[in-house]
Amino acid sequence: MNSMQRVLTALSQKKPDRVPLMLLFSHYGAKETGITIKDYFSNPDNVIEAQMKMHKKYKSDCLYAFSYASLELEAFGGNTIFFKDGPPNSSKPILKNLQQIEQLKVPEIMECPSLQRVLRTISGLKKEVQDTVPIIGVVMSPFSLPVMQLGFEHYLDMMQFHFGFFEKLMEINKQFCVRWANAQIQAGATAICYFDPVSSPDIVSPQFYKKTGFAIAKETIAQIQGPTATHFASGRCKEILEDVIQTKTAIACVSSLEDIGEIKNICNGRLSILGNLNGIEMCRWTELEAEKAVRDIIEKAGKNGGLLLAENHGEVPYYVQEKILLSIASAVERWGT
């Protein structure tokens, strides 16, 4: 089976030749390439070359077009802070007060250089692999983007005390999210990873999620012209799984704080799962520990398809050693068939 066949078989709840391995490499590509993270993301050719190299080297069953979350903030006029050894962060929030939401416009994708670079990356990857390897595009959910637009504290205050402004911002973000997702699909992305950490019960209560993050996800995902995976960026999802299934997403990402076997049982074939290697512990794992972690997940959740093995946060940390990634790859071959 090629990677696409393997992933599609798993998603149809059937047993593939081996469990698909979805190593989501973003800024890790800079380490592989030997250049700074800022330089790495400045040129789509760097990302295409590194993605192809890492796909072969680590036997990962996907290509990941994601660069960094604050790229979407850049589209709204914000800035990004780059580090030498970690994921880029958003700089100061673009909204200094809630009244500025009234003037906020939905960004034009064509006018944002960083979004254009991602689209060129996706097109380049598509030329390389056609339909043999899934290409994953990424959007921030309309419900989670305001953490960068406003800052977390102000966003939590707005949710609680200024619901009118919240609704206005959600309308803008929903439009942007749908346009950005569909632009990536048109450029060649196979599926969209819908990053929605704020919806996790770790961040808002399931009751609050039901009237906010859930309703927004349901409406947004329905307009995305391709399959989606909902990612909680290592946040837990067990308590909201029934609602997540209702959003018609194809995959949910499971936190390493959760029992992946239990989550798979709850899903019962209605949703596939992605996870749940602990990316933080991975930075200090030995090769034996890496193998054991892979084996445990496969034993708990690998039977009869429905599992995509991945790190749980949504990107492989910079400090994970090459030998650990190679161990993960060989453990999947050993235990995942």
């Binding site: 209560s205 933080i280 512990e281």
Partner: protein, 206 residues
């Protein structure tokens, strides 16, 4: 009584929370009893969050409401930060402030004075600032792994200066790897904001 106050906090209902206190206590006379109740309730809320029973948004709103209530009924509390304290809190390396904000509110609501260093990127700058302010207990909040491992550099800076200080770390990387605090040479880690209260009280007794 405690349960009703806790329920109001978890519902982010500050009017209900305040009116409950004003009905149950003589606000001008029973400041200490109110601080004790708030501290107890916040500790419980912290444990609930640690167990995954409540959300971060609830713990944040609860701590904010308690801080507001105390500032209102004990206005002298408002200026405590500027008074002499040897405890400080900082966000290391990035602009993720929420953890620091919640822990600070928890501590203030429990009557513990604390200096807020804001966000500092450089381990050297942080160590210098702590030494200048004669800090004995330093709380470091981080969100990302590459920030968390910089705590070791902070410790190294203190060592070079022969400066004795306790370091308490908290944040996502330490929750996902329960041994990381030892690797970065911290003295303790907190999972929930309430842990900071317990650990600081313990250190005070040493």
């Amino acid at each position: 009584m405690k349960e009703m106050f806790k329920a109001a906090l978890l519902d982010s209902d500050k009017i209900k929370a305040f009116s409950f206190l004003s009905q149950s206590f003589d606000l001008s006379q029973q400041g200490e009893a109110i601080v004790n109740l708030i501290s107890d309730v916040l500790t419980e809320i912290g444990s609930d969050w640690e167990k995954g029973d409540i959300a971060l948004s609830q713990i944040y709103m609860s701590s904010r409401i308690c801080e507001e209530i105390l500032d209102k009924i004990l206005p002298e509390n408002k200026d405590k930060e500027s008074k002499k304290t040897n405890i400080a809190i900082v966000t290391l390396l990035d602009l993720h402030f929420l953890g620091r904000r919640v822990v600070k509110s928890f501590l203030r609501s429990s009557g513990i004075e604390i200096l807020d260093f804001g966000a500092i990127s450089s381990p050297q700058d942080l160590a210098e600032k702590a030494i200048q302010n004669n800090i004995q207990s330093l709380l470091i909040s981080t969100l990302m792994y590459h920030a968390a491992i910089k705590v070791k550099e902070v410790r190294e800076c203190f060592r070079k200066q022969n400066y004795n200080i306790k370091i308490l770390v908290g944040g996502v990387p330490f929750i996902f790897d329960r041994n990381l605090w030892k690797e970065v040479d911290a003295d303790a880690m907190g999972v929930s904001p309430a842990d900071a209260i317990k650990i600081l009280q313990l250190w005070k007794q040493e």
